[in-house]
Symmetry: C2
Subunit: 422 residues, 2 copies
């Protein structure tokens, strides 16, 4: 389909971070084919974006989407207690079908809130693939590995080899260094090489897991991964709060992305990532919501505002991360984390993943600075339209990809699944 | 009017923090007359609150509501630079009428987001009184004083003596110790005594203003206020981040309320209030959005979530402030700050300021814990209905107190006022 989005304010997130007023975006099939003032062709569909902002879709680059099932299930508790005492026992009760519905409700929430792609790690991954494919969101999905056995390896082979989707790619996802021994980590690395897939792992999330690695392996997590050969791969490192400065050279000039999950990291009192230091060294940093159970929403706008606020606290400096840096983290840096070099900008030849935001409402009045308002005043509810790969998934705050009856049915089923937790 | 709110989940915020399922609230005139299971009278109006939460209205207990005009005007900057270089020069250009429209758009946003009362400090206070009175929100309003001259004193006399509103009370508002000399502070104290009004002041917001007081007055801010006699008055102390532990005994067992404004305090890199320490000592702590220019929204739900998250970071403890404490801060503690002992709970004989929240939507699915969901998953957009003093101001997400044309006109005017800032 050929789509003309007209009269928009465009936050392009191009290399100059140009913000265009009263301009147009043209989409043909799954690509952006023109951005600017002129009108190159007759479209199949016109979207009027007067008084609205067009920007690249947000990329939630670390989550466990099916954990939506555990939203508000266990709060005000540390990562270790939360994970081992509360989360893992409940996860044992979840079926393949439960995971499908958990992923589905989470993906619906993401599309509504302007997220167009996500990077996942969980189990019953075929259910997550099914939900993502049905709802036409872009995704990179990984099967969590904790000293994985042959069944898990078979599952991964099947997942990758039988993939018939257009928008879903895969990663190899050893859970963490504290849930894998050296053989588990080596197995994951070998799979990554064999299947030519990136590696997605939790790294230095808490002081405790950082200490545990030194105790168990006599080296830091990055040293351990480096010695094994991980740092020659495309790596996605979630959290990365407690990386020691002495190790930073190991990830400079590598295909490594760190994922900042500030709400989850605060909620579990894990700490605050030193984002500015990483960015200054040229390391790619993106943003993720983490699982909705430690957040407890899937609103990347809330995550971006919080990223700004905690950066100022962390550095004791009101400049902190400015709006531009944060928007880049949530868009083009996220695209890089997921392995795309033609995603995350409103730019000719880029993939047509974009969102339209209403800035004419009360909470954006007055609008003294449009870019800043995206960080400080916008929430997911201000998203009007979500387009992924040139397809309109959500328009004028209504889903196009799923009808209201099916949403209501999904809400009902998800609520009934939680009876298992009692 | 007699209102029956039926079939609700009620977060009562009573002394036991009872959460009642499938229960009723009855309102007669401006009071709650019954809470529970039975049906005491035939109402004029029935509100069905099935799958919804009823809770006390939120109290924004420190703000400068007309600063909505400066939303997103100056971000990523320290308090001192922000205030002296950017804010004060622009404020000099604002007219009485501008302040009216700034207050009006801010109050509309608060009502939409479930805030039923606010505590203000600003200038052209008669305009703020006018906007609050027209929109029927509860308010305590103070005329900011910085070494006030006779004109300001006259303004305050007129404001208080000519008040014909039902829902508006006043405070005496010396801006801070760094914008007043000893005579300015004494003048405010005497006015407070003469007019029998509380005092509302910024206290220990930043490390710098705390140091400046010691330099200028050879004592801490609380010692200075204590020596002057402030601590025998009803005092509302905004921010209160850098109070020294040695001074805490000065405010124990006094009619003193501290107001936590965590978003503003992070945005300006002022610091994080040690709320738990204050609460443990029995000191009343409430929550405020501060001016929308340093936030940049008026959403108390966002403020509550952020209060939870930063408390966990501050204390390096995932328990931090739990959901109950934060809801109390935003309701009954706010009521105490504003001088009410019959406000902030869903309880017989309390004033009928309450809100109804939709928890049947996607971002509340599943709902494993209703109280926690209010802190971690709810935003102002989930507010369905806002009732102040028994009057429905907003119902089913539509304003009852102002029509859409007037809202649109207000948005237009507010946007046009900002042309002065260029």
């Amino acid at each position: 389909m050929k789509i003309w989005i007209k009269n928009a304010t465009i936050i392009t997130v191009n290399e100059n971070f140009d913000v265009l007023k009263n301009s147009h975006v043209y989409i043909e099939k799954n690509k952006i084919v023109h951005v600017g003032k002129k009108i190159p062709f007759v479209p199949d569909k016109i979207i009027n974006a007067k008084n609205k902002v067009v920007m690249p879709g947000l990329i939630n680059s670390h989550t466990h989407i099916a954990m939506t099932l555990l939203r508000n299930f266990s709060d005000d508790i540390s990562l270790e207690e939360w994970l081992f005492k509360n989360v893992f026992p409940v996860e044992d009760k979840l079926s393949k079908e439960d995971i499908y519905y958990g992923a589905k409700i989470g993906i619906i929430e993401m599309i509504q809130n302007g997220t167009t792609a996500f990077n996942d790690m969980y189990f019953f991954t075929e259910s997550i693939v099914k939900a993502a494919d049905e709802l036409k969101i872009r995704a990179m999905i990984g099967r969590g590995m904790s000293n994985a056995d042959q069944n898990v390896v078979e599952e991964i082979y099947n997942l990758v080899r039988n993939n018939k989707t257009e928008l879903i790619s895969f990663n190899i996802a050893p859970h963490a260094t504290y849930t894998n021994n050296k053989n588990g980590l080596k197995l994951a690395l070998n799979l990554s090489k064999e299947l030519k897939l990136p590696i997605h792992i939790h790294l230095n999330e808490t002081k405790n897991d950082s200490k545990k690695c030194i105790k168990d392996f006599k080296k830091t997590q990055l040293q351990l991964l480096n010695d094994l050969g991980y740092l020659e791969r495309h790596l996605i490192l979630a959290h990365s709060i407690w990386i020691s400065n002495a190790d930073l050279h190991l990830i400079e000039n590598k295909n490594v992305s760190l994922v900042h999950c500030p709400i989850s990291n605060a909620k579990l009192a894990s700490g605050i990532m030193g984002v500015n230091e990483y960015l200054k060294r040229g390391i790619n940093v993106s943003i993720g919501n983490d699982g909705p159970s430690s957040n407890n929403t899937l609103d990347m706008f809330q995550e971006m505002k919080f990223a700004s606020l905690v950066s100022k606290l962390k550095e004791n400096n009101p400049k902190g991360l400015d709006a531009r840096k944060i928007i880049e983290m949530a868009t083009v840096n996220g695209a890089k984390a997921l392995g795309y070099n033609n995603l995350g900008r409103i730019k000719k030849d880029y993939l047509a993943d974009l969102i339209i935001i209403d800035i004419s409402n009360i909470s954006h009045t007055p609008n003294n600075n449009i870019v800043n308002s995206i960080i400080f005043s916008t929430t997911g509810y201000d998203v009007d339209t979500t387009i992924v790969n040139g397809k309109i998934l959500y328009e004028n705050k209504k889903f196009k990809i799923i009808n209201q009856n099916e949403i209501n049915k999904t809400i009902k089923i998800v609520n009934s699944i939680t009876k298992k937790f009692k």
